[in-house]
Symmetry: C2
Subunit: 264 residues, 2 copies
């Protein structure tokens, strides 16, 4: 509960500090948005806190119109203003990228059957905002909206390469090590970023989780700014250390398609 585990290493999610009430209310909002009704006791158990606390928070949400109670004294559900918030957030440029990219992502998924991810840059990390699961018997899945480190993921390297080429910036050490293949040396990273920039795609074989590889290409807007990354992700068996030409071309093509769609 204190942190999320990727492979063997931990990515801290800031489990302490900040305004405590906010941390709880965000979890409650997520519950309201996800399930269609929630109960006080049920939530208090799931979020590992007191009934009274959950109750007080829910009551506040009801006051503000973010939650509603189903007749009399029963369970709670999402309120009108939560839906309004949702609709407002859907108009942000970032979110419209997802809508535009979705058909292309599906096509790419169907080409190889591997999991396909769409990532955006968020602050110091990369976040997967849309993930379409692969259809293999044993596949690799990805929980959406996790923050991923930039130096150990294919999509993240594209971001770092962009920053390095344009501004000469490199991430500030130390670089967290996730597996024995994680690039933790700045010089090695610099070389890798140059390579990534030249070839126009990136991979990260077993650099964040052993046995897993991803292959990523950049999506650029009308000003040629890097705005998002599309990746395929699978076992190292299907995306080997030297990916197949067909795979590279397909991912680059998908990225180019989405880039073109963005300009319309």
């Amino acid at each position: 509960m204190a942190s999320r585990v990727i492979g063997g290493a931990e990515l801290e999610t800031g489990t302490t500090g900040g305004v405590m009430a906010i941390r709880l209310v965000l979890e409650i909002l997520e519950a309201l948005a996800t399930r269609d009704t929630v109960g006080v006791t049920e939530l208090s158990k799931a979020l590992d806190t007191t009934k009274a606390r959950v109750f007080r928070h829910l009551r506040t949400l009801v006051d503000q119109g973010y939650a509603v109670q189903n007749e009399g004294s029963e369970r709670y559900a999402a309120g009108p203003r939560l839906l309004a918030l949702s609709r407002a957030a859907s108009l942000t440029p970032h979110d419209s990228i997802v809508r535009i990219a979705r058909p292309t992502l599906s096509r790419l998924r169907d080409t190889f059957g591997h999991t396909v991810n769409l990532s955006l840059a968020y602050g110091d990390s990369v976040s997967i905002v849309e993930s379409i699961q692969g259809n293999a018997l044993i596949g690799v899945v990805m929980s959406s909206n996790e923050a991923m480190p930039r130096h150990a993921t294919a999509a993240g390297k594209l971001l770092l390469a962009e920053d390095f080429i344009r501004h000469g910036r490199l991430p500030t050490p130390p670089l967290n090590r996730y597996t024995e293949n994680t690039i933790v040396d700045l010089d090695a990273l610099r070389a890798e970023l140059l390579r990534v920039h030249q070839q126009g795609w990136a991979d990260a074989p077993e650099e964040i989780v052993l046995g897993i590889n991803a292959l990523s290409a950049p999506i650029r807007d009308h000003r040629n700014e890097l705005v998002a990354m599309v990746s395929i992700m699978s076992s190292i068996q299907f995306i080997p250390h030297q990916p197949a030409r067909k795979q590279i071309e397909a991912v680059k093509q998908a990225a180019a398609d989405i880039s073109r769609a963005l300009r319309l």
Copy 2:
């Protein structure tokens, strides 16, 4: 700032009580979802509070991935998890009604040019979740996601009528008076609700704001449950005390169309 004014009367929005941190963070989230970037000072002025407070809240949101900061130390924007929340909330049944109804609402708007509203029942009030502005020179608009009283609005009466016919329930007095035409007498309301039920539509001429009328019809799902209301709203000049047959038929038809679309 303490309450919202509709016409001359006030609808309290619960400006006190509850968990204070939640009330602030919800306003901040709305700001993040609405504008594309926000600043600490700017927000603290807009929300009438301290910089430190806004800063601490924003910092917490950043920790949790609900906000991001644009490189170094500048303004804030919506984060990945806020967009995730948004996407999750869009999957709730209530929200899908909006999507399904939208084309029909547009058509109804174009028929008369009056403002068209889609309302849902939320707890003890009615909330307009989608509003398409009329195209008249001088029109009547509606701010979305406001809670409206049930006994003084056309859509609200449909809800009350349903409750009265099926369970014999009437709202608990006192009924707030908004204009001289607001129905505040329980017996009068009972008669009105019977009328509404029999004719299958409702209006509320000058009952919440003088000079304004609305005409509303019920949307029902496959089990014939009342799930939403569609309304046209305009000056009393265009929707008179006794609405035109054409208007009534058009609104009822729109409601029927949406009801049918819901079953598919």
